[in-house]
């Protein structure tokens, strides 16, 4: 168990530089919005979802519309439902208690890295190790940004904002298997680009992913029938 946690932790270390930077940026924004460190820490611990945290902090203004902020944040996090559903096989034979605990630490990064290695017969502790790595680094990043933000120079100059995108691109490449996949990838990308322009919130992510997955089912069923 310890070994698997450590393995998951180490596998997520390369991306943690970027996670730290994003956390630092959030910390800096929080100071300008008058959010206390305790409130930021509560967000880190109990929400633990970077994009939703950015959105909440960004939408805090006077007068405040609480319900719109809550629904917008949950809309962004709707993808966690799909992420959870995709982990079903991985959590087979795991107790409900462990499921309830480990799922809180699932992030885009730790999930993507785990899914890219699913053929390696890893356990749920690998996923937990990855989640803990991101959790700790994210917390330290926000802490640094909050208290030492003025000392951090522009992270974009170092291309660190691209690290997430590059990591996910590499992971998608590793998932590529057949020519059908290429059709699905291009179709999903096209739908995402179009819907991102049309839909004013981040639900385009869910709609595009579902569209791509439906096409995947259709194409796979057709090739099975042939």
């Amino acid at each position: 168990m310890k070994n698997e946690i450590k393995k998951g932790f180490m596998a997520n270390l390369p991306i943690s530089v970027s996670v730290f930077t994003y956390g630092a940026v959030l910390g800096i924004i929080c100071t300008s919005k008058g959010i206390s460190f305790l409130q930021l820490a509560l967000m880190n611990i109990f929400i633990f979802a970077g994009s939703a945290q950015f959105l909440i902090v960004d939408m805090l203004s006077n007068p405040i519309n609480i319900s719109i902020i809550i629904w917008s944040a949950l809309l962004i996090n709707l993808r966690y439902f799909l992420i959870g559903a995709s982990l079903n096989e991985f959590f087979r034979n795991t107790s409900l208690k462990k499921k309830a605990f480990i799922m809180h630490f699932v992030t885009d990064e730790s999930w993507a890295i785990t899914m890219s290695k699913k053929d390696e017969n890893l356990s749920v502790y690998f996923l937990l190790g990855g989640g803990l790595c991101i959790f700790i680094v994210w917390f330290l990043g926000t802490l640094s940004g909050y208290y030492f933000g003025e000392f951090i120079s522009n992270p974009k100059l170092f291309g660190l904002d691209f690290a997430f995108l590059a990591l996910f691109t590499a992971i998608i490449t590793s998932m590529y298997k057949t020519k059908n996949d290429l059709v699905i990838y291009l179709f999903t990308a096209f739908i995402a680009v179009i819907f991102e322009k049309i839909i004013p919130n981040m639900s385009y992510i869910i709609i595009s992913a579902l569209s791509g997955s439906f096409l995947y089912v259709y194409l796979n069923k057709r090739s099975c029938n042939e």
Binding site: Q39, I47, A73, S86, F162, A163, L165, A170
Partner: protein, 101 residues
């Protein structure tokens, strides 16, 4: 905007996010009665990641697209996530510091 407002938001988003995280996993067994759900779920990682990143890469501009293709090429050739990721970050950093093109 009071401290109470912020705590209310944190409370409800935290409950909602946790429910989404756990319900996806717990309900996936119930979803199994639907035909082809296994094939559908198998495709979710790739389609979700594509939907998440492609619009952001395009927003970065030509250098984002170039770095994206570089990532794919290096990953395809070397199978190293770390190498492909760091190469792309390096290219973007060079460009933003006026050392590329």
């Amino acid at each position: 905007m009071s401290s109470y407002d912020i705590l209310t938001i944190i409370f409800f988003v935290a409950i909602g996010t946790y429910t989404l995280r756990v319900s996806g996993l717990l309900l996936s067994n119930k979803l199994k009665k639907f035909k082809n759900i296994d094939i559908f779920l198998e495709s979710i990682p790739a389609t979700l990641l594509i939907a998440l990143i492609v619009p952001s890469i395009i927003k970065i501009g030509i250098i984002g697209i170039f770095a994206g293709f570089t990532t794919i090429y290096i990953m395809y050739k070397t199978k190293s996530v770390l190498l492909s990721m760091s190469s792309a970050v390096f290219i973007v950093a060079l460009y933003r510091n006026g050392l590329l093109f």
